[in-house]
């Protein structure tokens, strides 16, 4: 075994390379670097890879968790198969949820439409044409009740992908639970809430960073006190990667965001062990197989080390990085879309070999539209094949100890620490956002990759090699345009029948509390939800107090 202390090793690999390998020429048509541009040696051996087993790898379920966060990993429990779904009104998405649960899915994951994500009601002028298109339209508790109708909240775990208005959606979920007589301390699930990556990559922001951070910390504080089974933040690299970052940037920026939330919570006066066990993560699974696996392993090791050593967490549960993974939407092509099934399967396999806790596999038709039911079922079946037919679940971290994977893990870790230093020099994550640091790094990386593709140094099957002259049409999901009108009528009918005085009182209270620094806003948001105040109304009230965020775009 290679260790850093071993002084006796000979450079036989160098000798092999000079005398044996170099005598045959390499192909020059494609790059041998990772998708992210990291160098790859032709061969890794004990000569050019150094790791200390106890310090760097250890055992599953034990610090530093490089090999996995649970002692038994998939021999104890498979990952949660969680397909992201949502379109149209709550009624259509409720039907899709029930369909997925019937087909063996084990958790729900809600996609919201753009107006919901941006804090506009369905009947707002800005929402025109976008209602129910990219996800489900939710305007108020009334819609949320319909979304989870017939789904007992004490028996499912629910993930909600929403950030700027996350506090409102969490409040709605708590209220639906109460209606079903499921108390908030029994609700299980995750809400994304990761506002920092919105400024960095996904760009669905409403308020400026400071009040947005306050809302996030309000939610973490609230969940620490009242929702012990809930994950109030899912710190997300997924969107950073989709925006065009490298794997190392995804790793580094996501962890930096995580540290920023930890520091903000500590500043609020919370004890790190009170909230850290409920922080969770969300990563991308891109096509560079080993680089992705190394990324997850490095992420676990860095998080554990920093939480223990830098932030002084003493509860081992605070050190654990649990994460959800989604295969890379950005890797899907509109050309020969069936090939996306293969890409997604390979990406999903990397996520599993990297030890993910839950997984979404994209459907092959998603470069064209939202997926059809058949395409979604096929994506879910892909996970089931990996879980039940391939045998990769039988042994924990089966690539641990691979010279190549350990070297890549070390390399990604070192890259991440270089970025942490730069972010610190810029004054932290929020300061770096305001200087467009992340945005520029991502734009540069994405342009570099695109240029490599266009020079055909990176081959994308069906796009820049093996093209078909005539593409076969595929069946795609059409969202009925009438659904927008249906939802507009729903929210208008709600406004007409609810108690207007209660709505006004709730909004006034929310504004009063938002204007002061020292109140946790969750309680007044829950009160407003019960009065059927809409998301748009709550966000507009907060826009008046806090203002809105506009970025200066860089390209």
């Amino acid at each position: 075994m290679a260790t850093t202390e071993d002084p006796t090793h000979l450079d036989s690999t160098g000798k092999w390379r000079r005398e044996t390998y170099d005598s045959t020429p390499e192909r020059t048509d494609e790059l041998f670097t990772t998708i992210s541009g990291l160098e790859n040696e032709p061969l890794y051996t004990p000569d050019n890879v150094a790791f200390d087993y106890g310090r760097d790898l250890g055992y599953p379920g034990l610090f530093p968790y490089t090999r996995g966060v649970y002692p038994t990993m998939y021999r104890g429990q498979l990952w949660t198969m969680r397909q992201f779904a949502g379109f149209g009104t709550a009624e259509e998405t409720n039907a899709r949820f029930r369909y997925l649960l019937e087909h063996g899915q084990t958790g729900l994951s809600t996609a919201f439409d753009m107006p919901t994500l941006m804090g506009h009601d369905s009947d707002a002028p800005r929402s025109c044409g976008e209602v129910g298109r990219e996800g489900v339209a939710i305007d108020s508790l009334d819609d949320m009740e319909m979304l989870f109708a017939g789904i007992p909240l004490d028996r499912v775990s629910t993930s909600m992908t929403i950030n700027s208005p996350a506090a409102m959606l969490l409040a709605f979920y708590v209220c639906v639970g109460e209606n079903q007589l499921v108390s908030r301390d029994r609700l299980r699930g995750t809400i994304q809430t990761d506002i920092l990556k919105e400024y960095i990559a996904q760009k669905e922001f409403i308020f400026p960073p400071e009040p947005s951070m306050r809302l996030v910390i309000d939610m973490i504080e609230f969940c620490a006190a009242e929702m012990p089974l809930w994950h109030p933040v899912s710190i997300s690299g997924y969107h950073i990667r989709e925006a065009g970052s490298t794997a190392a940037q995804e790793l580094a920026f996501t962890l930096a965001d995580g540290f920023a939330y930890v520091e903000a919570c500590i500043d609020r006066g919370l004890d790190v062990d009170e909230f850290a066990p409920r922080l969770s993560f969300f990563f991308n699974a891109h096509l560079d197989f080993f680089e992705e696996i190394a990324k997850y392993r490095a992420a676990r090791r860095i998080w554990a080390r920093e939480l223990r050593e830098r932030y002084g967490a003493t509860n081992p549960r605070s050190w654990l990085m649990r994460f959800h993974t989604q295969t890379a939407g950005v890797s899907l092509t509109a050309q020969q879309p069936e090939v996306n099934i293969v890409r997604t399967a390979l990406e999903a396999l990397a996520a599993v070999l990297g030890g993910t806790q839950s997984l979404h596999t994209n459907s092959f038709d998603e470069a064209l539209a939202l997926p059809t039911e058949n395409a979604v079922r096929l994506a879910l079946r892909t996970q089931q094949v990996i879980a039940h037919e391939t045998g990769v679940v039988n042994t924990i971290d089966p690539l641990g100890g691979s010279y190549h994977v350990e070297e890549l893990t070390n390399k990604l870790e070192a890259e991440a620490y270089r970025y942490f230093d730069r972010i610190r020099e810029l004054g932290g994550v929020v300061a770096a956002i305001k200087e467009n640091f992340f945005q520029r790094e991502i734009a540069d990386a994405s342009f570099r990759y695109q240029s490599e593709v266009e020079r055909r140094q990176r081959v994308i099957v069906g796009v820049n090699r093996y093209e078909l002259a005539e593409e076969q049409p595929v069946e795609i999901l059409k969202i009925d345009p009438a659904l927008e009108q249906k939802q507009i009528e729903r929210v208008r009918a709600l406004r007409a029948r609810r108690d207007t005085a209660a709505v006004e009182a709730a909004l006034a209270q929310l504004q009063r509390e938002a204007a002061t620094e020292d109140r946790n806003l969750m309680r007044s948001i829950i009160e407003a939800s019960k009065a059927y105040v809409t998301i748009g109304e709550m966000c507009d009230a907060l826009r008046e107090v806090w203002g809105v965020w506009r970025e200066t775009p860089v390209f």
């Binding site: 092509t333 994405s446 796009v463």
Partner: protein, 132 residues
């Protein structure tokens, strides 16, 4: 010396998917064009206004929110009112084939879907833009 082609790259609607818009903007700039990027979350009216103010030869609309059939026609209509048939309009994003055909019928010159090489977009603009 030939006039530089002036292109407005526009992001209508509420979605924040700007990877494609930024890559295309940069590729066009590298190809010697004058590129104005509107930034995110623009209304159709704002985009038309920018195209007029910037005296654009072409407008490239990037949209991945599924709202293209609502937002793109409003931009085309606005441009026609302000500039007649003077501005070339191209669209990029997740646009199903049927919708792409309909958009072309309404006056969009080309639709580029995920995977389209930037060189193809550069070439298309060079061939089809008449620089005033």
């Amino acid at each position: 010396m030939a006039q530089k082609i002036r292109v407005v790259i526009a992001k209508p609607g509420l979605d924040g998917h700007d990877r494609g818009a930024k890559i295309v903007a940069r590729a066009l700039r590298d190809a010697g064009m004058e590129v104005i990027y509107t930034g995110l979350h623009q209304t159709p009216e704002q985009i038309v206004e920018t195209a007029v103010q910037e005296d654009a030869d072409a407008v490239g609309i990037s949209i991945l929110s599924g709202a293209h059939m609502t937002l793109v026609p409003r931009i085309i209509e606005g441009l026609k009112q302000e500039r007649g048939d003077d501005v070339l309009v191209v669209v990029g994003g997740t646009i199903p084939t049927d919708d792409a055909d309909e958009l072309k019928r309404l006056g969009v010159s080309a639709v580029f879907t995920p995977g389209a090489p930037t060189s193809e977009i550069v070439e298309f603009l060079r061939e089809h833009v008449s620089v005033s």
